[in-house]
Every structure is written in structure tokens, then in C-alpha cells.
Amino acid sequence: MKIVPEIRGIKDPYIENDKWQTFDANTLSTTSMSADVVIVGTGAGGGTSAEIFAQAGLKVIMIEEGPLKSSKSFDMNENKAYGDLYQESAGRITKDGSISILQGRCVGGTTVVNWTSSFRTPSFTLDHWSKQYQVKGCNEQEMEPWFEKMEQRLNISPWPVPPNANNDVLRSGCESLGIDWKVIPRNVKGCWNLGYCGMGCPTNAKQSMLVTTIPSALNKGAVLLHSAHAKRLIIEDKKVTGIICHAIDRQHKTTSKQVIIKAPHIILACGGINTPALLLRSKAPDPHNRIGKRTFLHPTAFSFAQFDKDISPFYGAPQSIYSDHFQWKNGVKGSLGYKLEVPPLHPGLTAALLMGHGNNQVDDILKLPNTNAMIALMRDGFHDESEGASISLADDGSPIIDYPINDYLWEGIKHSHLTMAKIQFAAGAKRVQLAHSDAKWFNNFEDFKQGLENSPYQSSSVLIGSAHVMGGVAMGEDKDFCMVDSECKYHYLDNLWIFDGSVFPTSIGANPQLSIYGLICKQATALLAKIKPN
């Protein structure tokens, strides 16, 4: 695949629009602010709701802990992107180190760094929520108009361009094995097919919150306060009366510079992990001790393959082909189902994923242009033995993510390793690596299978990642498990709504951005009708 040699002619909306009210908390001159609605977090949930409230004429303040970075600074340098745009510089891990988590931390949140895959919430998932957690008003028919609306808003449609070679491995392998595959819908407009979605889109083609809903809210006079960490909610008599925020420095550390934000309506949209952590820091009412429980990650297994032909897995739309063949096969609550996709491979991230060290690793990384990787996203949270992670707090109030991996999850990962290797060999791979820390390669499927049987499935021996954080403040009417009602209002406080992926009672079984957009568009519209009846 040929690279586009240069990018020219891109305008940065944040430089063009000097009337937008954007403030860095570090240089803010006031110590208090107020609005009709305050939204903490500017990712998929926060961005979607900010536009709805601001366009209706309400005064909105958006708070974001990450910095404001826009296309001018998206230079496709991995190291810089991870430091600028990701939680813990892309080094976030679970408590025992088993799972590495990629999560955004910037204005626009994870939507700025995701790989643009946009799926509606599967009907199996919505049905399960309704049956198991008494979620109301969210079945497939009820959700359809909201997904349609957000698909139009963010220009979501199946990728019309042929897949890059990395994605084509998944397509051709599935094709020759009779496994069904489909084209991924993406939220892009005028995409240059470059491959740098994960480092901030340098051409503003990705329809992230940064270039869609947030500008729309700013045009209506909304205020954006970035580099501001929401430390604690002030809770008095079943109401949130204010949010104490601290400016955050370039090392991601909170400073003593404080601003208190007040509004009659408080919306948290900090995402899984960070919304539960803020509620825990605030000692929000939680009679059944549920905050941060059942946090799901779509734990993701990997498989690497080398080909004789050029793959150039660093160029081209990063995700364009998927397979749900193994997703619901064993029933919604049966043995672990998974979605198959491929990740983009740039050298820094790839080197960290290609486990092992020394001579062998040097050989492996040098073959990057001929390397394909496949991923299997485990649909966690549906089976009784899949409880996900629980969030607790370190001394400084930062979250600790404890995700114990049990045999149920290991079985799913093992199964997916076999599936992925089979697909890669069927697509013509010369050898496939079992993603264990000893990083062994196998020249055919039989040897791979043998090698897998002899390899220990235990923490930190097997490569597991995550790019999707869901749950922790579950939605539903069953108060034994759920913290917010079916409209995402906090069960135990009168003016607090949770508008992000942390309300999902299970994982989604698909990349979650459109699930968040659709659900939150519905919930924010319903809330608006209550605040401002026509």
C-alpha cells in the first residue's frame, strides 16, 4: 500500500474560531463558575449531551481533565500522541498487570483516538439488559431512531474503500474457511485512508466529538474548561450542589489551583473507570456497595502472523472488516463469545505487543511490514462467571482496576487463539505467533495447536489488551445491582445523571462508541424535555 506523501490544506477549527470560550484550568482567573448544566467529560457521552443542551439554549459548561489538542498538533508521532491523548500515556494497566488499557484523555475523549468502528448495540445485548437488569425503554425498536440519528450526525456508514492488507487477511481467511465476515461502518467524512486514527486524525475526517458536537456546543456559547480534574462532588441533602475541580499539569498531576462549578443539573460522562472513581471519591450514596463493580473491558486476545507479501499494517483505515461468527454461537450466556477484528500496527505499540526480548524480538519487529495482527474482543459480563473488574481508590484518589482472570475467561482466550491462527494460516500466513511472553512462532496450524496446549494460560504470560471500558455504574431498575435508572438518573441523588459507557450493565459485544452515542442522545433528549418543556 502506497502512503500519501504529504498532508496539506487542513484547517484547524480551534484556531479558526477565536470566539469559542475555551479555558485552560491552569490559567483560569476565576475560582467559581456556574451554568444550567455542567458536564464532566467530553468523550462520546459528554460530547453528545453538550450539543443537545447547548443547541436548546441552555448554558453549558464542559469539564475535561485532558488537554485541548486539535488537528494542528496531530503529527502522527506515536510517542507524542500517547503522552498527549491517552490515560497514563497509554500505559494504563489492571492491578495485576494482566490487561493493558488504551483509553483517551483529551478534549473529545476516546473518540479522538479510537479506530472509528461504529456498531449499533446488538439486540441480544439490549434484550439481556431488559431481562436481567430491568432496563426499560431500550429494546431494539426503541433504540433504532437514536442510532439512526447519531449515524447521520456522525456520517456513519460501511467503509466503501477496499480494506488494507491487514484487514484483508481477516476477510480472505474467513472467506476460505466459510466464516462469515462483514464491512465495518466508520464515522468518517472525506477520510484520506491514512491509518493514524489512533494518534488523533490529522485531517479532521474522523467525526469525533472534537470536530462535531463540541464545536456545535461552543458555537452556541457553551464553555469548555480543559486540563481540569473533577476531584469531588459536593453532595448535600440528596443533591449535588457543586463540583470541586483542580487544574492538572503536564505530568497529569493535580495542582492546588481550584475552581468550583455549580449547576442545577449535573452530568457525569468521565467514562468507565473514571466516573466510578469520581463517585467513590465523592462518597456518593451507594447502599449496596455497587459503584465500580462489574466494570467490563472486552479483554482482547491477539494473534500475530507473518506473510511473504507486503502488509504495511501501519497504513490505511485501521479497521474495516469484522466477524461476529463466534459472538453469539453458544448463546448469550454460554461460553465466552468474541468479535474478530484487526488492530493497526505502528512500531511503538507493536513492539510492546510482540512479547519477548532480545534477538528474537529484534527479528520480529524488523518484519513489521510483513506482519498482520488479529484481535478477539471477549464479550464479558453476560455469564455468571464473568463479573469483570472492580474499581477502588489509591491514597491519592486515583483508580485501581482489579480484573481477576478466571478459567472462564482463559477458555475464551484460548479458543480465540486457535480461531485466529486458523484464519491467518488460511489467509496464507507463513507463520503465526502464539501471543505469550515467550513469543514462539509456528509454521502450521497443527504445530500451533500443540504449542498452545503446552503453554501456560496465566496472568502476564498471555498478552491481553483492552480499548473499551464499560460498566461500573450499571443502568436498570433492579436496585440490588444498578446505580442509575433506565433514564440514567442516579437512583440516590435528585440532580445527577450518568451519561457515558459506565452505565452499561454488561459489555456491548461490539466497539462501544455508537452504543454510547445512541443511548446518551436518547437520555439527554429526555432530560432536556424535563428541564425545558418546549
Partner: protein, 180 residues
């Protein structure tokens, strides 16, 4: 205070076992007292002994790719980038790293944990390699976690440097021509 308790817990349950608990506790306390403020260059998170440890294992992990085109700048670049990244880690991750680095800085504990008895600055390549391989294949999950964390942090930092793209056959990103 809480850090010291955590360090003791780490040694107790993690690597050394109950037999060396008393030795471990007192030595850790000594080490904390002795190493508090030593810094080199502009490092904020890494201490001098931590830098020595990283510079002993990085050439083994990166093998013939180290120091590569960065030459004499390689050590400083790697340390500054790791230091910058580690400063952004959560408190829990930072504590885990500091505990690991503490363990690596105290000769008897380092030796019991599979490292060389001599300081890392005097360790041979073979000793560093043995240490890494031992932790990679250990039956103790904390050692495996240490191994995979160290490898991931060092390789991710290293190969994302434009000077090192050639080592992965990556031609690099398109050139951006900005419009003002």
C-alpha cells in the same frame, strides 16, 4: 509511610517469602533512607539506581538495535522518555514500579530475586539476560508482571522514536504541511 508498608507487603507476599521477611524490611528501610534524593540529569521519577538498572537491561531487550542511530544519545533519550511517561502513571502503578526498582537496588534481595549480586552498572550482559529470562518464565505472577511491564515500557518508548523507525522497516507517517 504507606509506601513503606506496601514495600514490605510486596517483599513478604511477592518475591522472597516469609523466611527473608525481617531482612527485607530492614534493608528496604535502609535503602529508602539512602536513596531518597539522588537524581541525575532532569529525571523526576527515576532515581540514579533505577536509571542504572534500566540501562543494564535495555541493551539486552533491544539487543542489536541498541543504541542504533541514536548512538551516544540513546541512554539519555530512553531514560528521559521513560521518566516522562512514568510521571503520568497512576499512584498505584508508580508504587509498583518503585517497589520493583527498590528490590533491584539492594544486593542481597536483587540476588535472591534472580538478579546479579554486583550492582547493575557492573552486571554482565549474560547476567542481565539470565535475570530477564528467569522473570519471563517464573512461576510467580509478580515476576512475570515485572518482566512484561519492563519490556513493554522500554520497547514501546524505543521503537516509537523516529530515529528508530528504520529498525522496524516502518517508513514513517506522511509529512504535514500546516496551513496558518
Amino acid at each position: 509511610m504507606s509506601k513503606n508498608i506496601n514495600r514490605r507487603d510486596f517483599l513478604k507476599i511477592g518475591l522472597i517469602g516469609a523466611l527473608t521477611l525481617s531482612v527485607g524490611s530492614s534493608l528496604t528501610t535502609l535503602s529508602s533512607a539512602g536513596s531518597g534524593s539522588q537524581r541525575i540529569n532532569d529525571l523526576q521519577f527515576l532515581r540514579e539506581q533505577d536509571a542504572e538498572f534500566i540501562l543494564a537491561i535495555a541493551p539486552i531487550i533491544l539487543n542489536t538495535n541498541y543504541p542504533g542511530a541514536l548512538g551516544e544519545q540513546a541512554a539519555e533519550r530512553l531514560l528521559l522518555l521513560l521518566d516522562k511517561m512514568m510521571q503520568t502513571f497512576s499512584e498505584y502503578s508508580q508504587q509498583q514500579l518503585l517497589q520493583l526498582f527498590d528490590l533491584m537496588s539492594i544486593a542481597p534481595l536483587r540476588y535472591l530475586a534472580g538478579g546479579p549480586f554486583v550492582p547493575w552498572s557492573k552486571a554482565s550482559s549474560q547476567q542481565s539476560d539470565n535475570f530477564l529470562t528467569g522473570w519471563q518464565q517464573s512461576s510467580l505472577s509478580l515476576k512475570r508482571m515485572g518482566y512484561s511491564s519492563l519490556c513493554k515500557l522500554i520497547t514501546m518508548t524505543w521503537y516509537s522514536q523516529p530515529e528508530n523507525y528504520v529498525q522496524s522497516g516502518y517508513p514513517g507517517p506522511p509529512k504535514v504541511i500546516t496551513v496558518e
